[in-house]
């Protein structure tokens, strides 16, 4: 199967996601969780339509653009908004992307912060620091449908205030959590961190 990416012809296996044939930034997508299409950083223009590369299959003859002016603006702006609302200090990939897209967050002036949220330390293994959480849901899915089927994490609230929490907001040891740390591994922003990383 052949398609064109940014004017160049490329070969793709049937069923391949655009993500596999085009180089685009991603954030919420993870091969072992079922989260996809949320962060919109991987949006591309396919035959003139905006589609998430992580959730769209390549088709014969498709015309894909990954770096149009509009897409660059979208990524730059999204990254700026993330930086304004969320602590990205432990998200090196996002910081690199901000550099790449020339993000200048301050141009938006005052913007509400993600309500945050003191650091939660309620177990011997890892902490939850939701001031750093971009709400990509990879942790929720790793804990639930995606990998473990344990369902110790869910989401609280809506909109910008939404963030992961536990059933009944209980400390993790009082939930079905099995402390596999697969949520920690898939967290892209350091909102979930092993305590062993903390100094002291």
């Amino acid at each position: 199967m052949r398609l064109r990416v940014n004017g160049k012809e490329v070969e793709a296996r049937p069923g391949a996601l655009l993500l596999e044939v085009a180089e685009v930034p991603t954030l919420c997508h993870h091969p072992h969780t079922e989260t996809r299409g949320l962060c919109r950083l991987c949006l591309v223009e396919a035959d003139g339509r905006l589609v998430p590369a992580c959730a769209t299959e390549a088709r014969e003859g498709m015309e894909v653009r990954t770096e149009t002016e509009g897409l660059r603006t979208l990524r730059k702006t999204l990254l700026e908004w993330l930086a304004l609302t969320t602590d990205l200090a432990q998200a090196p990939d996002l910081l690199a992307l901000m550099e790449r897209y020339g993000a200048e967050p301050e141009r938006w002036g005052e913007v509400p912060r993600r309500r945050g949220r003191e650091v939660l330390k309620d177990n011997p293994f890892y902490l939850r620091d939701y001031a750093k959480c971009v709400n990509c849901r990879r942790c929720v899915d790793a804990c639930g449908d995606g990998i473990m089927g344990v369902y110790a994490l869910t989401l609280e609230g809506r909109g910008l205030l939404a963030h992961p929490t536990t059933p009944l907001d209980r400390p993790l040891p009082e939930t079905p959590c099995v402390f596999c740390g697969n949520c920690v591994q898939v967290c892209p922003t350091g909102a979930l961190r092993p305590l062993s990383l903390e100094v002291g």
Binding site: C39, R40, T77, L78, A152, P176
Partner: protein, 490 residues
């Protein structure tokens, strides 16, 4: 249908305790995590505001919002009361009431005044309270034809196609295509009537449900039967308690008369704007947070519980009996559309007008004078401000018609105040699933507050929000963008 749905189980247990949530989760066969995510999502499980509440709709925003707000303990999202605005509600431990003509009317008894309706084909000459009355007004013809074997699904599809019926919920998708697509799918198939009218400025579905339930049900049954649905659900905005009562009574009468070829069931909505988005709606029916799904697959392929599902707006279905009764050609000659008119016109209300009626004429029908108006908000919150009085009100025009809301603002109205209300509305109603929408709606509120007119900043907001997952985020900036255009033109 897979398993018992979580939302009704939670509703039966209000007010909730942790034990009751756990019990509902167990009965629904879902993890406690899922139930908790649901409880922390929908307002009625999180806990509704109490006291005197101002309905925060665009009309209230236009009429000295701060003063109105000062007389209330809190606000409540638009409720289809724009033609009566400003309106106050009273939420107490005893129940929910509308303040109406100096009385507190319980939600279960409050219907939009019948006098608000102006039309003859979709709207009845009197409130329809019984099956016999509906029959006497010419109803049930199509349903009876079907029962006698005088109608085939294909004939119905054909008629709908010839009529050129487009979805009345706002997306204007050709109805026959959806009908046929679902009918082609593997059973079991479902019909879901989208009666979750929450778009500010719109009250047409509410009016139909409250005053003309049999018409809606006849349309639903025709569609459900034609697509071979195993069951038809009416997903009704949960605040429309009177409508729900009326529907349940009407369903009982239809079933008793043997006129329900497909089982009908009312499902109380999640009570959020996003629940009207068809996939978010399905998520809530399946007992999850009402968050839009990625499309494709579309509900016609994988809808409720993963089955082919027709999700169709109330008004769209209400047109099916009409098309079959009048014949597609006659129906098409004067395509009826319901318009919800409110704001600065003399006779706010629901107007049935042929599609294509110019905006100015529509306003004049309600006693509005375009020359005295600053602008009209067309479509609703997901709509645009315009002063294009010659604009024909029909689909696929240069401006989106939405579900047909027209909110008129007189010369004295500060449109930025109205816009701020809309911006707040979107911020409140953003589900938070994708990134551009919760971030963008929050940023937009700040921009509107400071009356930001910097074109490059607005353009970047627009470019980014266009990338949202669903229509909510993709349209949340329309009003902002259009206000700048109206200002520029003025």
């Amino acid at each position: 249908m897979g398993k018992p749905s979580l939302l009704p189980l939670l509703d039966e247990r209000l007010p909730l305790t942790e034990e009751k949530v756990a019990e509902a989760a167990r009965l629904a066969g879902v993890p406690l995590a899922q139930a908790w995510g649901v409880v922390r999502y929908y307002p009625r499980y999180r806990g509704l505001p109490q006291g005197r509440l101002l309905v925060d709709d665009p009309v209230a925003r236009a009429r000295g919002f701060a003063g109105l707000r000062a007389k209330a303990d809190g606000t409540y999202p638009p409720l289809g009361l724009e033609a009566l605005a400003p309106s106050y509600l009273r939420f107490t431990p005893k129940g929910r009431f509308v303040e109406w003509e100096g009385r507190l009317v319980p939600f279960a008894e409050f219907r939009l005044p019948f006098a608000l309706g102006h039309g003859e084909r979709l709207l009845p000459p009197e409130p329809v309270e019984s099956l016999a009355q509906y029959r006497s007004l010419g109803g049930l013809k199509a349903l009876e034809a079907l029962q006698k074997g005088h109608l085939t699904p294909e004939a119905l599809f054909q008629a709908v196609e010839e009529a050129g019926l487009l979805g009345r919920g706002g997306a204007a998708f050709p109805t026959h295509l959806k009908l046929r697509a679902v009918a082609r799918g593997e059973p079991p198939r479902y019909l879901v009537v989208n009666a979750d009218e929450s778009e500010p400025g719109n009250f047409k579905d509410r009016f139909l449900l409250e005053h003309h339930p049999f018409l809606v049900l006849e349309g639903a049954l025709l569609a459900a039967w034609a697509i071979g649905a195993e069951r038809a659900y009416l997903y009704v905005r949960e605040e429309f308690e009177a409508a729900i009562r009326g529907l349940e009574k009407a369903i009982g009468e239809l079933e008793e008369a043997g006129l329900a070829p497909v089982p009908l069931e009312v499902f109380r909505s999640g009570g959020l704007y996003i629940c009207g988005e068809e996939t978010a709606l399905l998520e809530s029916m399946e007992g999850r947070r009402a968050e839009p799904r990625l499309k494709p697959p579309f509900p016609v392929e994988r809808g409720l519980w993963g089955r082919p599902t027709l999700v169709q707006n109330v008004e769209t279905l209400a047109n099916l009996p009409l098309i079959l009764r009048e014949g597609p050609a006659a129906w098409r000659a004067r395509e009826p559309k319901l318009f919800s008119l409110s704001g600065d016109v003399e006779r706010p209300g629901l107007y049935e007008l042929p599609l294509g009626t110019p905006l100015g004429e529509a306003l004049r029908r309600a006693g509005g004078e375009p020359g005295e108006l600053k602008a009209v908000l067309l479509g609703g919150a997901a709509g645009v401000f315009t002063r294009d009085w010659a604009l024909p009100l029909r689909y696929r025009e240069k401006l989106p018609l939405g579900a047909g809301a027209l909110v008129a603002f007189g010369e004295g109205v500060d449109l930025w105040e109205v816009l701020l209300g809309l911006a707040h509305f979107f911020q409140e109603e953003s589900c938070g699933k994708c990134f551009p929408c919760p971030l963008g709606t929050a940023v937009q509120v700040e921009m509107v507050k400071r009356r930001e007119r910097n074109p490059s900043l607005v353009a970047d907001l627009v470019a980014t929000m266009k990338g949202s997952l669903c229509g909510l985020g993709q349209s949340a900036f329309w009003a902002y963008q259009s206000l700048l255009e109206v200002e520029g033109a003025a």
